[in-house]
C-alpha cells in the first residue's frame, strides 16, 4: 500500500506565543510535527506494518521543516519531500503545491492532521483532496482498511459517525486515533542517512498566488476580575452564584 502523509511543522503546544513588531516571534520556539499530523504519521506506519508498502511524508515550508521530516523518517517513514514555500503562501497556495507534486504519483491513501495547532484553519488537507478529486473522511478516531475501502469512525461534534470511503481517499486524524511512537535509536540513525527530496515551487509549475493576506497580528488583552471568594464552602458557593447573576450577568 502506497501511503502519503501531509505534514506541517508547528510550535510546541506548551510554547508561549509572543507578538512583537506585528509578527509572531518564532526564532527561539521549539518546533515539532503538528500533533495531529503526528497521529497521521503513526497511522501510516501502522497501515504499512499491517499490509506492506511505503510511507512518504511531504511538507511545504522552509529549511527548518527538515527537522520535522527527519523526525517522521526516524519514526519509520520511508521517504520524505520538502516543497519550498513561496512568500505569503496561504492554504490555497500550499494545497495547490502539494497537489501539483502528488499528481501523477500513485497513492492508495493520503493521511493528514485534522487541523494544525498554529493557524488552526483546517483547510489545506481538504483543499488537497478537492484538488486531487479524492473523497475524504475528516477527524478520524479509528481507521480500518480492507480491500479498496476504508471504514472511518469520525468525530462529528462529539458524536461518532461511521463512514465508508473508496480508496484512494484522504483521511484526517483526530486526537485519540492512536498513540504516536517515539523514534528508536536505530530509527534515528537510519533517518540521518536518508535524503530529503527538495522541490522548488517554480519547478512544479504552479501559479497559485495566495487568495488571503494577514494584515495584522496582535495579542488580546483580557481584563479579568481576579476576585478570590473567601468563606466556608457553602458561603463561597452562595456568593459565586450571586456574583455570576448580579455582577457578571451570565446566569
Amino acid at each position: 500500500m502506497e501511503i502519503l502523509v501531509l505534514l506541517k511543522q508547528t510550535f510546541d503546544t506548551e510554547a508561549k506565543v509572543t507578538v512583537k513588531d506585528g509578527r509572531i516571534l518564532d526564532d527561539d520556539a521549539t518546533l515539532v510535527i503538528n500533533p495531529y499530523d503526528e497521529y497521521a504519521v503513526e497511522e501510516g506506519l501502522k497501515l504499512r506494518e499491517a499490509g506492506g508498502g511505503t510511507v512518504t511524508v511531504v511538507s511545504v515550508g522552509g529549511d527548518r521543516v527538515e527537522e520535522a521530516l527527519r523526525r517522521a523518517l526516524a519514526m519509520g517513514a520511508d521517504e520524505a519531500a520538502l516543497i519550498e514555500a513561496p512568500a505569503g503562501a496561504d492554504e490555497f497556495t500550499t494545497a495547490s503545491l502539494l497537489a501539483a507534486w502528488a499528481r501523477g504519483k500513485q497513492f492508495d491513501i493520503v493521511l493528514a492532521g485534522n487541523v494544525s495547532v498554529d493557524t488552526g484553519a483546517g483547510q489545506t488537507a481538504l483543499r488537497f483532496a478537492e484538488a486531487m478529486n479524492l473523497p475524504h473522511a475528516a477527524a478520524a478516531l479509528k481507521l480500518e482498511v480492507a480491500g479498496n475501502k476504508a471504514t472511518v469512525h469520525r468525530d462529528a461534534e462529539g458524536d461518532t459517525e461511521v463512514v465508508e470511503v473508496p480508496l484512494p481517499a484522504l483521511i484526517t486524524a483526530q486526537q485519540g486515533l492512536n498513540e504516536p511512537r517515539y523514534p528508536s535509536v536505530p530509527g534515528i540513525m537510519k533517518a540521518k542517512r536518508k535524503s530529503i527530496a527538495r522541490v522548488g515551487a517554480a519547478e512544479l509549475g504552479v501559479d497559485a498566488p495566495a487568495r488571503t493576506e494577514v494584515t495584522s497580528v496582535f495579542q488580546a488583552q483580557q481584563n479579568r476580575r481576579n476576585t478570590i471568594i473567601k468563606g466556608s464552602p457553602a458561603e463561597q458557593a452562595k456568593q459565586l452564584t450571586e456574583l455570576l447573576r448580579g455582577e457578571a450577568k451570565v446566569i
Binding site: T13, E14, A15, K16, I24, P35, D90, F92, A95, V117, G120, A121, G122, Q123, L126, R127, E130, P135, H136, A137, A138, D155, A156, E157, G158, D159, T160, E161, V162, V163, E164, Q174, Q175, G176, A210, R211, T212, E213, V214, T215, V217, F218, Q219, A220, Q222, R224, N226, I228, P233, A234, Q236, A237, K238, L240, T241, L243, L244, A248, V250, I251
Partner: protein, 323 residues
C-alpha cells in the same frame, strides 16, 4: 460596495442552529445593499420564515437524492449549484462540524480564498476585515480575502444575531440539486452527546482536570452541567489519565471554546489548556492549589476542594433557577 451574500443554514436536532442566525447577521453587515440569501440543504423548508425573520432576504431550499444527511460530495455539490445560480460575492458558514468539513473543499472548487473560525469582522474601506484566533487563541490575526469569492466560517457564539422581526418577509424558492456520485457512505451515527450539549457552541462549559481524580469524579460536574444546561469539558491531563474521552478535551490540542461562562474544576491551567478557553467571557476557577495558574485568568476563584464546592454550587443554582 454592495455584496450578495450566501449563508449555509444548518439544522441540528430538529432546530436551526444559532450560528446560522449569526452568519445572517454577519451577512447583513457586509451586504451594504446587496442580498442575503440563506440556503437549506436536504431538509427544513419549514424553517424558511425563521431565517427571514432573522435578517435573510431570500431562502433557497435544495433537495436531491442523498442530501438528507451530510456527505462532503453531496453538500459541496448542492452548495456549488446554489453558488452557480446566485453568483454570490461572499459565502458564510458556521465553523461547525459540517462547516469545517465542507467549506475548504467548496473554497477550493471555486479557487477561492477562505478565512476559518472567524470571531469578529468589520468593514474597512472596500475590504471585509476578519479577525480570527491563531495558536488556539494565544494570539489573533486580522485577515482579508484579496480577490474573488470570499468564503468564511464563523465561530458559534461570537457574533450577535439580529433580533427576531416577525413582520419581515422574503422570497422562498426551491432548487433541485443535480444527481451526484456520493462517494462517502454513512453506515452509522453513534450519538455520544445524546441529551448533552455540544461543547463548541455551548453557552456554559463545566470542565474537569486532573483534580477530578477518576472517571467517576466527573459525576458532580455533570450534575452541575445539567442544572446549567452546560456542556462538560476536560483538560488534557484528565483525558490523558483516561478519566474521559478525548472528544471532551479543551485546549490547543482539542476543542477551542468561547462560552459566556467557563467553570474550571480541578484544572491547574497549563498553557495548552488556557489556549483553548481563555477567550471565554467569564471564567470561574475552583482549585485546591492557590498558586494554580488558572486563577490568573479567572474572574472568580474559589480555593477549595471541588468535591465539596461543586455539589453546593449545583444546589445554589437549582434554587436560583428554580430547577
Amino acid at each position: 460596495m454592495a455584496r450578495n451574500v450566501l449563508v449555509l443554514a444548518e439544522i441540528r436536532n430538529g432546530a436551526l442552529r444559532p450560528v446560522s442566525f449569526e452568519c445572517i447577521a454577519a451577512g447583513r453587515t457586509v451586504a451594504e445593499g446587496g442580498t442575503v440569501t440563506a440556503a437549506l440543504i436536504g431538509e427544513g423548508a419549514g424553517f424558511a420564515d425563521d431565517l427571514i425573520h432573522r435578517g435573510a432576504d431570500k431562502v433557497v431550499t435544495v433537495t436531491g437524492d442523498g442530501l438528507e444527511s451530510y456527505t462532503p460530495d453531496g453538500w459541496v455539490g448542492a452548495l456549488q449549484s446554489v453558488c452557480l445560480e446566485l453568483k454570490p460575492d461572499v459565502v458564510f458558514l458556521g465553523h461547525t462540524g459540517i462547516g469545517r468539513d465542507l467549506a475548504p473543499r467548496f473554497a477550493m472548487r471555486n479557487t477561492a480564498g477562505m478565512v476559518s473560525d472567524v470571531t469578529d469582522l468589520k468593514l474597512e474601506g472596500d475590504q471585509i476585515l476578519f479577525t480570527r484566533p491563531v495558536y488556539a487563541g494565544k494570539a489573533f490575526v486580522t485577515q482579508i480575502v484579496k480577490q474573488g469569492l470570499i468564503v468564511a466560517t464563523i465561530r458559534p457564539n461570537n457574533l450577535a444575531a439580529l433580533p427576531v422581526d416577525s413582520v419581515r418577509s422574503g422570497n422562498v424558492s426551491e432548487m433541485a440539486a443535480p444527481a451526484l456520485d456520493l462517494r462517502t457512505v454513512i453506515k452509522e451515527i453513534v450519538r455520544n452527546t445524546a441529551g448533552g450539549v455540544d461543547l463548541t457552541s455551548a453557552k456554559i462549559v463545566v470542565s474537569g482536570g486532573r483534580g477530578v481524580k477518576s472517571a467517576e469524579g466527573f459525576k458532580p460536574l455533570r450534575e452541575l452541567a445539567v442544572v446549567l444546561g452546560a456542556a462538560v469539558g476536560a483538560s488534557r491531563a484528565a483525558a490523558d489519565a483516561g478519566y474521559c474521552d478525548y472528544a471532551m478535551q479543551v485546549g490547543q490540542t482539542g476543542k477551542t471554546v468561547t462560552p459566556d461562562l467557563y467553570i474550571a474544576c480541578g484544572i491547574s491551567g497549563a498553557i495548552q489548556h488556557l489556549a483553548g478557553m481563555s477567550a471565554s467571557k467569564v471564567i470561574v476557577a475552583i482549585n485546591k492549589d492557590p498558586e494554580a495558574p488558572i486563577f490568573k485568568v479567572a474572574d472568580y476563584g474559589i480555593v477549595g476542594d471541588l468535591f465539596e464546592v461543586v455539589p453546593l454550587l449545583t444546589q445554589e443554582f437549582k434554587t436560583l433557577l428554580g430547577r
